[in-house]
C-alpha cells in the first residue's frame, strides 16, 4: 500500500477523534477522543519512518506513547478530582472559567 493510503487512514482517524472531542459531553469521552487523535499521529509517524527508512519516527512514536500514558493518568486523576468536587463530569457544566 502507498504512503498516501496510510496517511489518509490516519487523517480519518484524526478527524473522528476531533469529532469526538468536540461533541462528547462526558469528560472521559473527550479523553477517549484525544486518544484516537494521538493514535492517528502515531500512525503517521510510523508510516513516514517506514517509507523514508528513518529510525527517528519510531523513536518518536515510542516517546509519544509513553507521554500519552502519562497524560491519560494525570487527565483521569483530574477528572476524578473534578467529579469529587463538582459531582459531575459533564464538560458543559464545568464552566468556572466563563468570562
Amino acid at each position: 500500500m502507498s504512503l498516501t493510503a496510510y496517511l489518509t487512514l490516519a487523517a480519518l482517524v484524526f478527524a473522528i477523534g476531533l469529532f469526538g472531542v468536540l461533541t462528547r459531553r462526558n469528560a472521559i469521552g473527550i479523553l477517549l477522543g484525544i486518544e484516537l487523535m494521538f493514535n492517528a499521529v502515531n500512525i503517521n509517524l510510523v508510516a513516514f519512518a517506514r517509507f523514508h527508512g528513518d529510525l527517528l519516527g519510531l523513536v518518536f512514536t515510542l516517546f509519544t506513547i509513553a507521554i500519552t500514558v502519562a497524560e491519560v493518568a494525570v487527565g483521569l486523576a483530574i477528572v476524578i478530582v473534578i467529579f469529587r468536587v463538582r459531582r459531575t463530569v459533564e464538560a458543559d457544566r464545568l464552566d468556572l472559567l466563563r468570562g
Partner: protein
C-alpha cells in the same frame, strides 16, 4: 492483491469502524471497549509497517495500561454517582462540519504526496537499531521521559487521593 494490501483494508475498516463507535456509542463503557479495539487495530497497522516492537509496545502500554486506567476511572465515577453513565453528545452537526473541514484540509496536503513513493528497503530488523538509538543518542531523552512518567504518576496519585 497482496497479503499486505488485504491486511491493510481489513485493518482500516476495523480501525475506522471502532473509532466511529468510540465517538458515537452512548454507553461509556462500550466506548472504552471500542477504543481498545481501535488501539489494537492501530497496533496491527504498525505491524503492517514492519514495526513489531511498536506493536508490542502499543498492546502492552496502551491497550492494557490505558484501558486499565480508564476503566478504573469509569468505575470510580460510576460508583460515586450511583448510576450508569450514559453519555450524550452536543452539537453533532457543528462538530462534524469542523472535523470534516480539518480532514479536507489534511487531504489537501495528501494529494501532493507522490503516489509512487517507494517503500525504503527493509534493512534487517529495526528493533535492535531502535534499542541502540534509545540508549545511544536518545539516552538523556529516555531518562527524562522516565522522570516524566514517575512525576505524572505521583501527580495523579496526589490528585486522586482521598481527602484525609
Amino acid at each position: 492483491m497482496t497479503l499486505e494490501t488485504a491486511g491493510f483494508w481489513v485493518v482500516a475498516v476495523v480501525l475506522l469502524a471502532s473509532s466511529l463507535a468510540v465517538v458515537l456509542t452512548p454507553n461509556l463503557f462500550h466506548a472504552v471497549l471500542y477504543l481498545a479495539a481501535a488501539l489494537v487495530a492501530t497496533g496491527v497497522v504498525f505491524l503492517l509497517l514492519d514495526s513489531p516492537f511498536l506493536f508490542a509496545v502499543q498492546l502492552l502500554l496502551y491497550a492494557v495500561g490505558v484501558m486499565a486506567i480508564v476503566v478504573f476511572a469509569i468505575m470510580l465515577t460510576e460508583r460515586l454517582v450511583g448510576e450508569r453513565i450514559t453519555q450524550t453528545s452536543r452539537h453533532l452537526v457543528n462538530g462534524g462540519v469542523v472535523a470534516a473541514g480539518v480532514f479536507i484540509g489534511i487531504a489537501g496536503f495528501l494529494i501532493r504526496v507522490p503516489r509512487s513513493l517507494p517503500r525504503a528497503p527493509l534493512v534487517g530488523d529495526a528493533t535492535p537499531a531502535l534499542g541502540r538509538a534509545l540508549v545511544g543518542p536518545f539516552a538523556l531523552t529516555l531518562e527524562l521521559l522516565g522522570v516524566l512518567l514517575v512525576v505524572a504518576l505521583l501527580g495523579a496519585l496526589y490528585f486522586a487521593r482521598a481527602d484525609e
